[in-house]
Symmetry: C2
Subunit: 346 residues, 2 copies
DNA sequence: TTGTAAGCGTTATCAT
DNA sequence: ATGATAACGCTTACAA
């Protein structure tokens, strides 16, 4: 079966502790050079591979970091997962994702806790819906260090999130500058919520500027883009007057809306200006490239990993709550003036 | 710290083995109803959570399935990962992804082997490049059951892959029907390889129909789409005569090429017909929706998980090599006739 | 410099 | 019906 330190020891007529010492003690190990060499070469030729499970059980480090995340196909999550994995692996850990749906959050959280993870990164959007998060965290027993992901309104003691305020301010200012007066907010129904930072920014702006708020509920399709397409279709065929501008909570929605508008011959940005959020890789490649809000996802993921690592290594250090700056990229979809769109940012 | 079986035992004045028996033996356990109840309620109130690491060490199941994959941001991998995770979690395992670059394949493979995984799903595109795969598999010691992912030319004893032949045949036939005579194949340099099924299909078709082959090397950008954009730009500004049609190895490339052509005022499908592969979620939403090849990714992932599970449960069963059918979706980007595009499929 | 032994949290095999 | 004990592979005092 598997080569263990015992087998190496037996092979060499040594004790397994000597082997262990050579194999993972630093250079200054108290062993004769000859035995060290014998052990090292035996380990190599026999193909010894340390058993992480046993090492983890022994109590030191498990080397595992969990991610608790919604089971979602959105590009945003893929991208986040990509960067998190990269950082975590670079730091010498392995990342083990636990996805869950609203129906099985608790079950999955319990499952996660069975692996003694050294830390957990939690997308606390859904976790904290309906106070469930509080309930989960109150589960008895040990809970590893947690860093919340991307909810600026997080109740967690540590988190990394995006500060949408400046970019949203820039964007909505830009949109009104372009002449938009009725600016709709397109999102899935659950997102029209005070805990949703982007929506809060929108509300504030509209109130401040005495503009009417409009919601577009994105529903009905099998994918987000399709839902957006359908909802936009419905909007167009229903209302006599369309909004002048539409902000979409993410670029998948923006894509669906874009397509619906084009299919109906609505000109972008002539008739309606359109903006999204996330800077998904495809939005710059549309015939009318989309204005969008750029999130420093890679940086945010790196920050989250660093915060978690610090918490792991120095359990008593000060909690970190970090807001990452977002910025605006203005493209053709909101640029009515013929002059070159200006790169605004926050 | 953590509530263990021993603590419950101590609390109740029982032995830890009794507790263990109650906690995971089936219903017919040989325990008095009263002690069972005491134990179960104690476990609940104390918040006992079985330690998977310890369970794994004890030798039964680790409950872990690994994925060995390239560190890539391509949408294809995200989607595959999404479905694999779903299937694996549904089957009661956890999925732990190990990503690697060409520079550290071996190191990462060794790292993976340290966790005693019950099975591994391997993207064997890169693993088997340069015969490295053979080398890795020959590492001494136990190697868990492996199922290869998506390489139809795999040398692994078990795999699930895509059969591009019918869809490629349909597509290229369709493209020539639309009048294309010089059809270029756009891909990253490493992909012009006999082991790449799509490319082989292309070569055969071109030879069979006595058509000249053209390569577009996709290079130079930071993302695949950007590289494609740049390469297409270069192509346009360099050559006097452009190809009539371009097949792109995936939709990210197709997107970049699409954008470049549009920027240069090249009409799609008027001047050039364009097709991609993967049916990425955005290609149907372009102003000129893209013809593409649809891979049954969800099914393929499910199949791969089933094959692996079977191998785990019945180590001596017959090896499975499964090819999944792909199909063609014809959209506007290759439809020159005004008549409604027909849904061809294989 | 090396070996002995205990322990990590489980499960499983024996006694009792 | 329950308890003592060994074992999984490893790390780490402590003893020799």
């Amino acid at each position: 079966m598997r080569v263990t330190i015992k087998e190496i020891a037996r092979e060499l007529g040594l004790s397994h502790s000597t082997v262990s010492r050579v194999l993972n003690q630093r250079e200054n190990a108290m062993v004769s050079d000859t035995t060290r060499d014998r052990i090292l070469s035996a380990a190599r030729t026999m193909g010894y591979r340390p058993n992480r499970i046993a090492q983890a059980l022994k109590g030191a480090r498990s080397g595992l970091i969990g991610v608790f995340m919604p089971e979602s196909q959105e590009h945003f999550f893929s991208e986040v997962l990509f960067y998190l994995r990269r950082c975590v692996e670079l730091a010498g850990f392995e990342l083990i994702p636990f996805s869950c749906s609203p129906l099985n959050v608790e079950e999955r959280w319990l499952k996660l806790l069975r692996w003694d993870l050294e830390g957990v990164l939690v997308f606390d959007y859904l976790l904290f819906a309906d106070g469930l998060g509080q309930a989960l965290l109150q589960h008895h027993g040990f809970v590893p260090p947690i860093v919340g992901l991307f909810n600026a309104e997080s109740h967690l003691t540590e988190f990394v999130a995006f500060d949408f305020a400046p970019a949203m301010q820039d964007l909505l200012t830009h949109m009104t500058d372009q002449g938009a007066r009725t600016i709709a907010y397109a999102a899935v129904p659950g997102s029209f919520h005070v805990a949703e930072h982007r929506y809060r920014c929108y509300q504030h702006f509209m109130v401040d500027h005495e503009l009417e708020q409009h919601r577009i509920d994105v529903v009905g399709g099998t994918t987000l883009s399709e839902s957006a397409l359908l909802s936009a279709h419905e909007l167009i065929s229903r209302r006599s007057k369309l909004p002048d501008g539409i902000f979409c909570q993410n670029d998948e929605i923006a894509l669906g809306v874009y397509r619906a508008l084009r299919q109906h011959g609505v000109d972008i940005p002539g008739d309606i200006i359109l903006a999204g959020c996330d800077n998904a890789p495809f939005v710059a490649y549309l015939d009318t490239p989309l204005t969008t809000i750029v999130l420093p996802i890679a940086d945010a993921c790196q920050a989250a990993c660093q915060v978690l690592q610090r918490r792991i290594e120095q359990p008593d250090s000060e909690p970190t709550r970090r807001l990452m700056r977002t910025s605006l990229v203005i493209r053709a979809s909101t640029s009515r003036n013929s002059r070159q769109p200006v790169q605004a940012s926050s």
